[in-house]
């Protein structure tokens, strides 16, 4: 099944969640190890797609607890037992999960969402508003993201609702370290890794290697540079002119997502307007 996916023609018909899944799947390679936490339908779909196509040996710790599981499809939760079915190892989280993650050699890539992301890739999942103790919106909280941000991981953000509210100049609260104030701010604290890519429903962004400011990488088919910039709360750095279009998923990729990986459409859940 994995053999013909790359030569398959671009899908005639695909939705933006499928595009995002295919872009993220590209970031995970054979021999990588990765993991997911709760409400991670897009990342889980990306891992499953990678394993069915170019990265059959991608090692996946489902729900941060079940190694190399065999779910027949994405279930209604990415944290619950149905996702970690038929694992080859159950992880004791206190003893082992954080041992594996904190150890610099393993599980180097983490794919995650954030309610707010700023121009330096700092993330906020804690509060909207400036008074932390009486916020306008109390969000779930940082969970493990504050850890992942500081311990040398490569972070791949996904954002299903690219807007001036989610892509802000400065986060209301820094739940997790991105590039802090940019430049070499991370290095000065001894922090390795950091945000690599932001894949939204409009575009793909990376970070300038020196200034660490967010930079547009490609714009999804059907969107425009102007729309992306208008829906971003800060000035995006631009790549060479013209800005390329994000590559569409292939037909095989879309078929795999729809028929094998996620026939129930769980991946569409976090999108404000289901696509």
């Amino acid at each position: 099944m994995g053999s013909d996916w790359r030569n398959s023609p671009d899908a005639a018909d695909y939705s933006v969640d499928e595009l995002m899944v295919s872009v993220l799947a590209d970031q995970f390679h054979n021999g990588d190890q990765t993991t997911n936490g709760m409400a991670s339908f897009i990342p889980v779909a990306a891992f499953m797609l990678a394993r069915l196509t170019h990265a059959p040996d991608l090692i996946w710790l489902a729900s941060s607890g079940g190694l190399d599981p065999r779910p027949d499809r994405i279930p209604a939760s990415t944290l619950e037992a149905p996702l970690w079915r038929d694992s080859i190892m159950y992880i004791d989280q206190y003893t082992d999960f954080w041992n594996f993650v904190l150890n610099g050699r393993w599980i180097k890539k983490f794919c995650v969402g954030a309610a707010q992301l700023d121009q330096y890739g700092n993330a906020n999942n804690s509060v909207i508003g400036t008074d932390y103790h009486a916020p306008r919106v109390r969000l779930p909280g940082t969970a493990g993201l504050a850890d992942m941000g500081s311990i040398g991981k490569k972070l791949y953000f996904w954002n299903p609702n690219h807007s001036v509210r989610s892509m802000v100049e400065k986060v209301d609260f820094r739940s997790a370290a991105g590039y802090l104030d940019g430049g070499d701010a991370r290095q000065r604290l001894g922090l390795e890794g950091g945000p690599q890519l932001v894949v939204s429903n409009l575009a793909v962004m990376d970070f300038h290697p020196v200034s660490k400011k967010m930079r547009l990488k490609s714009v999804h088919p059907g969107t425009s540079l102007e729309e992306v910039q208008a829906k971003t709360g800060f000035d995006l750095l631009l790549p060479e002119d013209p800005v390329p279009n994000t590559k569409a998923p292939t037909q095989v990729q879309v078929d795999l997502i729809r028929q094998s990986i996620d026939p129930d459409g769980m991946r569409k859940r976090e999108f404000r307007h289901h696509t």
Binding site: S77, S126, A134, A143, A146, G190
Partner: protein
Amino acid sequence: MMEKIKSLAEAITLVKDGDVVALQNMATQAAPMALVRELIRQDKRQLGLVVLVGGMAVDWLAATGVINRLIGAAVSMEQFGLCQQYRKAVEHGRIRVEEISETILNARLGAGARNLPFLPTRGGIGSDLIALNPDNLKMLDDPFGGFPVLACRALVPDVALIHAHRADRFGNIQYEPTVLWPDIGIMPKAAKKVIVSVEEIVDSDMLRRHPDRTILPGFMVDAIIEVPYGAHPTSFPPNYGYDSRFHRAWTKVSRDQEATTAFIERHVLVPGTQQEYLDAAGGKPVLEKVSRWEEN
């Protein structure tokens, strides 16, 4: 060995107003819900809650004014969304949140369990969490000349509330093979008192058949209570899954104060026994449905 079997009411009298209570939970998983309901029935006040990732239990405790502070990494019911009652209580300043990351919580509880003043982590460095918690988090130079670490002060909860698969009457606690979340791995070991509800109380000889499955020794446990489906509506693999209908019902009412009060009345205050609670939640058909957790 000392007998530890107690009634729900007796066990929860071990929790005092103002206590710091560590609660096992993980979004929609493994919360000792029967113990939580008893906290509400006994009208506890000003509890501080320690939770890794809280779910409906936190929402109920917020809705009923039992807790006024929370130390934890997240509160969410995952696919069922934000905990609205908790959210409102925080936004109105009725619950103060000391937000910490997972490795910080593990370090704080680990230090508490091991009688150390602190444990270090590199997680959270560069985030705003540190400035938020100056009493408990301090940057510390590496005495061996490397980059600094974050020292996380020991946290010793007054009580830990836990749900498990089985126990003997001496309080030896077993878990079925499953993914072990950090809260079961460390919270009860850090706490001064440990209260455990279990699916069933069995003879000690049953436990001796699988000594590798015993997760807490009886000498650490102060009270055990047999409560079948004691984690409902959260999941408790491999026994049962979460009750999605019940979660949706709560998320629907929890935005409205009157409906919330009625729901708490019906599902928490009125049922006098676990059986009455389960009947109010839908009885046998619901239990059969959650037992088929693979379908979710």
